[in-house]
Symmetry: C3
Subunit: 354 residues, 3 copies
């Protein structure tokens, strides 16, 4: 994976304000300040790391305009308004070279039902299966081993990696990205129990994933019992997340890895779930709320809640209680000391009794 970027090209890509120093090396890799070696590009994204710059061996370092140091020999500083953003521009340029745009067409090994409608600008990779009545819109890419069930719809510009399953009737909007192993539309987990035996409730709803959603590898999103499970526009979901039937996730949410949402819970917009957080069913979580990692939510939350713990509580309360929790040995000792100072008295009337 050789990048072979010249200092000049880098300067153009990041719209450099100025370049200080020079290097004979082409940039072949990207690394953090502490790990970069000759030939690497690095960046000072956060001023708290600026003490690492003088010892950094990178051939090129993206630094903010006000960084005061000077490059070492055979090293260039590329001065930019925002080094993190500049790094992002470099990464995008690199991505275009590393991951060339797939070529449209249907691989001959794919198994496609005669009634499926596949736009001629879509790419259907090897060993995909597309069932009856499914629709694949313009520019969609199904890399390989993708399963698209009966009457499912894959919107314009979607990108589905290997081993993705889209079950019957489910619908993806535009520019949805699904990573390997994602399952959209497995049956909701619903049973009615009669005399200790669990009878499956038919799950006849669908999943609707709106535009610009991204879903991480091996995440599972169940179809609704009826109507739809919804993932709102622009929401980003990490790996190994569980979303149960009839959940409604609002737009622009962030669901970090291994979090889970039980059935019928509704998230507003811009909600953030930390890693491994769990939400009980039938709750309403207000816009802009944040649930800390491993938090357990068993009641609905108003907008802009910021909670942590199991069961969760407002973060300030949770932090204060945790401090007191850690002081329990001290509190216990204080009570013991008070008990010593104030011994239990004999009943003063005891002696008077016969």
């Amino acid at each position: 994976m050789n990048l072979d970027l010249s200092l000049e090209i880098i300067g153009q890509q990041v719209k450099a304000v100025s370049i200080q120093g020079a290097t004979a090396n082409l940039v072949t890799g990207i690394a953090s300040l502490s790990e970069a070696q000759v030939g690497d590009l690095s960046f000072l994204g956060n001023t708290k790391y600026q003490s690492l710059v003088p010892a950094c061996e990178a051939s090129v370092i993206l630094v903010p305009l006000d960084y005061e140091g000077l490059p070492r020999a055979n090293q260039a500083f590329v001065r930019v308004n925002n080094p993190s953003e500049a790094l992002g521009l470099i990464c995008e340029a690199v991505a275009e070279r590393l991951f060339p745009k797939p070529i449209s067409g249907v691989h001959p090994s794919a198994v496609i039902h005669a009634s499926a409608k596949i736009d001629k600008t879509a790419m259907i990779g090897p060993l995909c299966v597309i069932e009856e009545g499914a629709v694949i819109e313009a520019g969609a890419v199904l890399v390989a081993h993708v399963y698209v069930g009966r009457f499912a719809k894959i919107g314009e510009g979607c990108h589905l990696r290997p081993h993705v399953s889209i079950m019957e009737y489910c619908q993806l909007g535009k520019h949805v990205q699904l990573h390997s192993g994602v399952v959209i539309g497995s049956d909701g987990f619903g049973y009615s129990t009669v005399k200790g035996v669990h009878h499956k409730e038919a799950q006849v709803g669908i999943v609707v994933v709106e535009d610009e959603v991204e879903v991480g590898s091996n995440t599972t999103i169940d179809r609704a019992r009826f109507a739809k499970t919804l993932i709102g526009r622009g929401t980003k979901i990490d790996n190994l997340v569980q979303i149960a039937h009839n959940v409604q996730v609002g737009p622009h949410c962030i669901l970090v890895s291994q979090s889970g949402i039980a059935g019928s819970t509704q998230l507003g917009s811009h909600v953030i779930l930390g890693g491994q957080a769990g939400l009980a069913g039938h709750l309403t979580i207000g816009d802009g709320s944040m649930i800390g990692g491993q938090g357990g939510v068993i009641n609905s939350l108003p907008a802009k809640s910021y909670v942590r713990g199991t069961p969760c509580m407002p973060i300030n309360q949770e932090m204060r209680l945790h401090v007191l929790y850690k002081r329990l040995p001290d509190l216990n000792a204080r009570v013991t000391e008070l008990e010593k100072r104030l011994p239990a008295q004999k009943n003063p009337c005891a002696d008077l009794q016969v």
Copy 2:
């Protein structure tokens, strides 16, 4: 996904006691009371929601016999003994139409070892792989991209969705349903560590999944080190659950999403694991026990235990302690107040000493 159900058909399907009002609309969807629109079927499954009925725009509403309201214009109430059960009947009828019975036969793209025994009523979908000596019994359905390893057995009427892996020698009973990405029979996680290096212990047991079990998408069940990992009859397992080697899960258990069971632990019958609950290895969990969501179980539990928390404790104790935990600031203040009232005294004998 148009249902196009007439009021008359609905009445028949749910065995209506009576029908009140009428609608010119065919029912095209199913929705909750608060979300239903003209053309939808809705239902009053829980009397606590009855205030939502008058404003509900559904064309048909399933209501209990004793519900006192009247339908609006162009709306029908279908009166039944149990609206939730009636909805279940509708969903089953819809499911039959949406998900037609697969047609038996082997897709030409499937790769099947000459020695595999496949019942002629089974359906082997596109791009499945069936290895040496595997057995697929009557009526089993392998949708697509399913892998069945050497000498594995898939029982009568099983339904395996895309990307399921059944590893060597594992056995599924009758009518087992596995959703996409389920792995049955990956190696147990067992190593012997010598001088800091982990050496793999051969895992030569199997997984046995009994009749009527359902397993959610991307759940993993490891093969035993020896003998078998067992999932008992009628147990239902949600998505992304982990079941380690040699675990024995009794019949009719419910394992909610993202729960995990470490090696050799045994669950009795009718045990319920809440979402994200975790059980340590080598435990015995008695019949009918319930583990709350995110609970952590590190000791065996007698039958009918109901526990919560990490490490878990009986739910009543856990709730009481949590109340006291939230009152720690108050308790701390009370101790401080007592200390003010009873200052540490000088040793009364101190003055007498020389």
Copy 3:
């Protein structure tokens, strides 16, 4: 799965010190002392179970040299220095018979890019996809349905089970074992948020998995934003584990099922994560540290830390605090009793005021 092992063969395989008694049965299975039946092999791996031996019906039992009992009729005791190790030897011999070495060659149904380099001793099973420029080294086994992306490298002797995805440019060392559904190299979860809209940051790094690593089914390991996500030599990872972008896992670590590591965190060597443990991002965890099951780590830890709880703390502190937590009702009662003994006094000066 018949083993059909004679007593003589077993004695040879475990290098028996002596054999006591005899059995006419061939050994057909392996079972624990409490579950073994006639025809089984069992073993006394831990002296705490020795009371189970006299009632055990196994035809052959591996016992330590100093075990004092005698076999029953038609039963043999195989005396060995270490029965657990001896069982391991038996399991390895059984494994060789149950899981024969795959035969090298490329299955005709596999889809392989002309530029991919596949060693002639490798086995590429049915319906695998190998993209442009990928390299598959000597003796590697891709069972079936495996996806290997552009320019990825699969090292010598690797063993990849069904439905594994290795994304572009990622690299596996030698003898790496990946179980079904593992995803190596899905995009890291990184966005920059502008006015509430999350914009994807290009993820142009790779994943490097060093020699002798084993990864459990449906585990996900994301590619780095830049440079590499690293899994160190000899590390063993269980099922459904999440490893985020730019994480560095040292050699010989053990990551138990459903644990998760957020972005850029670094683990030293021989770190153990308990099941469902979660680590925040950008932390450093010292060599030999152990994180208890369900533990939540939000700060870096020095070498040989042993922590538990959320947020985690040293295990001794955590256990002591938990004891005090369970005694909160008692502490509360003691404070109430002190308050009774020392009622709040009227201000002694109150009467003197006008």
